[in-house]
């Protein structure tokens, strides 16, 4: 199941040939600089303003370029690549419509702190500001959704700008950085000299925490009777999962992991309470409300986690660990703020952390609650239940797959019923909730992990937002297994209309969707369908045995809801539990 690639030169050979100073075009400077940043794969789509760049890529094989079928596919793929690898994702698009097609993907990455370098072409500097053909002020348009952006004025600036962009994207609180290159700049000749150092006066993220603050947290742990850790995506991004594991084992504090934090702590461990928030576990939500000490590690108190803010964790002293000082105190007043990289903070804490001795009764209470109230659903022998499908996928893959999802009910069921034990095995659009993200992000995740199984779980709605990227799976033999949980409606919207809008189902019927099996086959990808348990397991095994990409459609019960559910305006312990009680 290894994707096919062009033969690449050895890294040493490449680096040696690229480091020598030379007068070359802006486009060649760009490509060399990308290779020197250790870029292996970029996703892109050519057009008028990037023709010089694509001309320089003709016959170029020092990194791979995947031609997607839409710029949205390119940026979500770059995003999936970054989330699954920890490296910076790179994509290229032309000016105007090409660049604006990236906006959703840039916002997705920004909300979830994903490091991307986004390269767009622009019209020539002489035409900027004239409403020239395919001109758009993309740095202006994306200013609120990028960590930083550059409009390049001279080819000679490119080596520095590209090096800075990678540094900014992948340090501190990570995020997307945009580099807009006018067409004449990509053609301009300049002396290329590799830049290896970076000095940005206004940018010095605080990595090492203040020891006094960490000591305050350690003291609070020894005093707490009902402590809890809320861990988020920051643990994954900082590569701190081992430190988190040690911290939890040493302190004995029960832990809940947010949607983006899934995989940061092994789900099979006794102290893990599941996910908190709108579709979180009963135990995670009630424990937050009962806790007397809440240690937030790299999560941002999103409203999907906190529910009604004024009633969130009402009894708890709050510790908040984050590399972004602006997150501390933004939503929830903090008693002990700790600014720093999660890994550094936990390394410092682990040297002295003591077991929370007073919390014995609490641990026992939560362990009992986890047993008593796990996620559950009423299974059926007549209809395929989506939750069962996810459980089956988990069993059949031994929980070893990288799972990407789209957005909606299937996303929540995947979060609830697929158990994650490793970081970077779970790729999902949390902050922005971007439909169309699931499938192309899996292509990126597979490019970053060519020896691992990558499953993309989608709804029938989101799949139709980027289905065209099946072509690049087929052409490049990228062996992603695409799951479609087909309930023939926009399920999460239907759930809200049922529960909050008094069953007034408005424009959610997706009948008229294509035959997904035929759609897959039209692109040259194997397609499978199942609508009962027996077939479901059988077609899944067949799809797994197929060495290339495959689409597996599971036709599931239409009227199935995600529970538990906290409706907006409620505190998180006010959960609708559905009909399983």
């Amino acid at each position: 199941m290894v994707a096919q690639h062009a033969t690449l030169r050895s890294k040493e050979e490449i680096m040696e040939s690229l480091r020598k100073p030379e007068v070359i075009t802006g486009s060649e400077i760009l490509l060399r600089s990308l290779v020197l940043e250790d870029v292996e794969c970029v996703f892109g789509y050519p057009g008028g303003a990037v023709l010089y760049i694509y001309d320089a890529m003709h016959g170029f094989s020092d990194f791979q370029h995947l031609l997607t079928r839409h710029e949205q596919g390119a940026i979500h793929a770059a995003d999936g690549y970054a989330r699954a690898s920890g490296k910076v994702g790179v994509c290229i698009a032309t000016s105007g419509p090409g660049a604006t097609n990236l906006v959703t993907g840039i916002a997705t990455a920004y909300m979830d702190s994903v490091p991307l370098v986004v390269i767009t072409g622009n019209v020539a500097t002489t035409l900027i500001g004239t409403d020239a053909f395919q001109e758009a002020d993309i740095t202006g348009i994306t200013m609120p959704i990028t960590k930083h952006s550059y409009l390049v004025r001279k080819a000679a600036d490119l080596p520095r700008i590209i090096h800075e962009a990678f540094h900014i994207a992948n340090t501190g609180r990570k995020g997307p950085v945009l580099i807009d290159i006018p067409k004449d700049v990509s053609a301009e000749l300049a002396l290329f000299e590799p830049v290896t150092e970076v000095s940005i006066r206004g940018y010095n993220p605080t990595v090492t925490p203040n020891k006094l603050q960490v000591d305050k947290m350690l003291k609070a742990i020894t005093e707490a009777e009902r402590p809890i850790v809320l861990a988020g995506g920051g643990v994954v991004y900082s590569g701190a999962h081992e430190e988190l594991f040690e911290f939890i084992k040493k302190s004995g504090i029960p832990i809940t992991t947010t949607l983006l934090g899934l995989g940061a702590f092994p789900s099979g461990e006794e102290l893990w309470l599941g996910m908190p928030g709108m579709h979180g576990t009963y135990t995670a939500n009630t424990s937050i409300q009962e806790a007397d000490l809440l240690i937030n590690i790299g999560a941002r108190f999103d409203d999907r986690v906190t529910g009604k803010l004024s009633g969130f964790a009402p009894k708890a002293k709050i510790v908040h660990i984050d590399i972004d000082p602006a997150e501390i105190g933004k939503n929830v007043p903090t008693d002990i703020p700790i600014v720093g990289d999660v890994k550094s903070v936990l390394q410092m804490a682990n040297k002295e952390v003591k077991y929370a001795e007073k919390a014995d009764a609490w641990r026992a209470q939560l362990a009992a609650s986890c047993k008593e109230k796990p996620y559950k659903y009423n299974d059926s022998e007549d209809e395929l239940k989506p939750q069962w499908v996810i459980e089956m996928l988990y069993e059949e893959t031994n929980g070893e797959a990288i799972v990407t999802t789209d957005v909606g009910q299937h996303q929540m069921w995947a979060a609830q019923y697929y158990k994650f034990n490793k970081p970077r095995s779970w790729v999902t659009s949390g902050g922005l909730g971007t439909m169309g993200f699931g499938f192309p992000s899996a292509i990126g995740a597979q490019m970053a992990n060519q020896d691992r199984l990558v499953i993309s779980i989608n709804g029938d709605g989101g799949m139709q937002m980027c289905a065209q990227e099946l072509a690049i799976c087929a052409i490049n033999n990228i062996p992603v297994k695409v799951v479609i949980i087909n309930n023939q409606v926009l399920g999460m919207v239907r759930q809200w209309q049922e529960l909050i809008y008094d069953n007034r189902y408005s424009h959610i019927d997706l009948s008229g969707s294509p035959d997904f099996v035929k759609l897959a086959e039209a692109y040259g990808v194997r397609g499978f369908r199942a609508s009962n348990k027996e077939d479901a397991r059988a077609v899944w095994q067949e799809a797994m045995n197929h060495p290339g990409p495959a689409v597996v459609e599971f036709v599931v019960r239409k009227h199935e809801n995600v529970y538990p559910m906290v409706t907006q305006g409620s505190t998180i312990d006010q959960m609708l539990m559905g009909d399983t009680e």
Binding site: P144, R201, G202, D324, P325, G329
Partner: protein, 162 residues
């Protein structure tokens, strides 16, 4: 408690930096009463002075969010210290020959200056803190203000502090 805050922001003198800063205020729901930008004591850096209203929590968020911008070097809450805040206004006011002595009296009292004279108008330049400018404008209103232009506040902390 809602208060008026005067914040100085030292930024890289880059194209688009004003848009980054003012855009941040807009989309985060922070109010800008006035914003002034000019060169600073150091080549390549500009100093913005922003007057905003809000409570202390909001000011803390403003400061933290500003620091997230790569082009922002330093943010100082000037109003936390004794400071000098000044703005300049040009007021073009109706001034028939009969009314001029009265207007000149006000100008003198405010240590303002007449910087242009038309056949039926005077242009008055006044420099001072916001309250002084407001008061001057109030006094000019009865004569009929034809045109008014204010620069917004620029400010510095008093004494040796930088």
């Amino acid at each position: 408690m809602m208060k008026r805050h005067t914040v100085a922001v030292l930024v890289n003198d880059q194209p688009g930096v004003l848009q980054r800063v003012s855009g941040l205020f807009g989309r985060r729901g922070f109010n800008i009463e006035s914003i002034t930008v000019g060169t600073s004591e150091e080549t390549g850096l500009s100093r913005m002075v922003i007057v905003t209203t809000g409570d202390d929590k909001m000011l803390e968020q403003v400061t933290k969010q500003l620091y997230k911008l790569i082009d922002v070097i330093k943010v100082v809450d000037l109003s936390a210290n004794p400071m000098v805040g000044r703005e300049l206004a040009l007021i073009k006011v109706n001034a028939d020959p009969g009314a001029r002595p009265e207007i000149l009296g006000v100008v003198e009292t405010f240590r303002a200056a007449v910087v242009d004279i038309g056949t039926t108008s005077l242009m008055v330049q006044v420099v001072g803190d916001t309250d002084k400018i407001d008061a001057m404008i109030e006094l000019m209103k009865p004569y009929g203000i034809r045109e008014l232009s204010r620069t917004g506040v620029t400010a510095m902390v008093r004494g040796n502090a930088r």
